[in-house]
Symmetry: C2
Subunit: 241 residues, 2 copies
């Protein structure tokens, strides 16, 4: 059984003030919670229906049984499924050294679903870390976490001062710009940075000046722009050629 204050605490993760300031975050649904269990992130508590608990077996973490009605009251999803977990936030203490990897840099991605889908896409292509500007949709927003489909437990996402990182690390900086060189004519090296800008404004001038290789995805039709997650996927697929 859970009491009213515990229910209210979980429900509060719908609000930014709460999810941004708490030391824990919410993970929902059997698929995402399985990813969490398989990861080395710390689980604080699990709330689950009897069928999930039975199928799961013994876990080294407190599991509270709830019924479907309570699940519906706790959940932020339209169709809540079986389980909600509370996990501990992690800070990003040890980045992979920038010159040893290919990091994704996000400038001002505003939409939580887009950020989550970018993390999921980065996870597909084996990207180890994503650097986000302070104004990017908060990583621990439940909408971001859910749309990563587990990528949030594998790809390190750090909120940093992008200008400081770029000025201190002189590496290839591929930047997605509408007037960049066609990606089909650009060979992308295996190490460096790929910078993706805001859905409508693109990359800000403060950061654009660090781009060493402006690249674009050639347009054959009439759309004004591509979705940021779609553009990221296309450029990462090209990077892997």
């Amino acid at each position: 059984m859970i009491n009213n204050s515990e229910l209210k605490y979980i429900q509060s993760f719908a609000h930014k003030k709460h999810w941004a300031e708490e030391s824990t975050f919410i993970v929902e649904g059997p698929k995402m919670v399985q990813e969490l269990i398989n990861s080395n992130w710390t689980i604080k508590k699990i709330y689950a229906t009897a069928d999930w608990i039975q199928a799961q077996g013994v876990l080294p973490v407190q599991v509270v049984e709830i019924d479907q009605i309570m699940l519906g009251r706790m959940s932020q999803m339209q169709n809540p499924h079986q389980v909600i977990a509370l996990a501990e936030k992690e800070s990003f203490l040890k980045p992979v050294p920038y010159h040893e990897t290919f990091s994704l840099l996000l400038d001002g991605i505003q939409d939580p679903g887009n950020l989550g889908t970018i993390i999921r896409t980065a996870d597909w292509f084996g990207i180890k870390q994503i650097l986000v500007a302070e104004d990017t949709a908060g990583f621990y927003n439940p909408k971001v976490i859910q749309s990563t489909m587990g990528g949030c437990f594998r790809v390190k996402v750090a909120s940093v001062n992008l200008e400081e990182v770029l000025s201190a690390n002189k590496l290839n900086v591929y930047g997605a710009l509408l007037d960049g060189a066609s990606m089909y004519e650009t060979k992308m090296e295996s190490k460096g940075f790929l910078m993706i800008g805001n859905e409508s404004k693109g990359i800000g001038s403060q950061l654009a000046k660090y781009i060493t290789h402006p690249i674009s995805i050639p347009k054959y039709g009439n759309a004004e722009s591509l979705n940021a997650a779609v553009a990221t996927g296309i450029l990462l697929a090209h990077w892997k050629i």
Copy 2:
């Protein structure tokens, strides 16, 4: 001024029963309404704030001035902007002959935002038509229309019996399958079909048997799958190489 029954009529487009059965559909915001005005789709009526009307000049369509409060009441968006238009639905009478073009086939895309983003991406790459199975998220769902970013007025989207089309037109059918041949080793011809499956279930077996070229996007990390719109973008970018 608009009366209460008109307000209720517009508000009803939030419900599937209404948007699916009406002969009109809703388009919101200055960018999308501009795309509608630039298209050859028929506009029935426009509701807009004074600043939008002033900036727009004379239009050959009825424009009703509303204030910000009424806009907020009529709109389905979190941050409504200036204008809502009612447009006439179009039926898909004259498809481009299948052997003359490259058509996208969608099997069971459930998420309206995904369907909209796929249409937007197709528009970027110059795709002329998309064929969707009957179970695909309804094209005239306001969430679909808005996330196409105008692509809905340029790319023809038809709900058809995909099996009938595939069995009657013996063309190359590229199908996105997790165990398909690497797209990097597959040359995609300029004419034919590209089939994209459901977000979690992929392409159903009924349709998969028509695939002549199973292709996959190689995975380098640990994500279980890619978002359907991201996968579409990657495959269309590859098709254009």
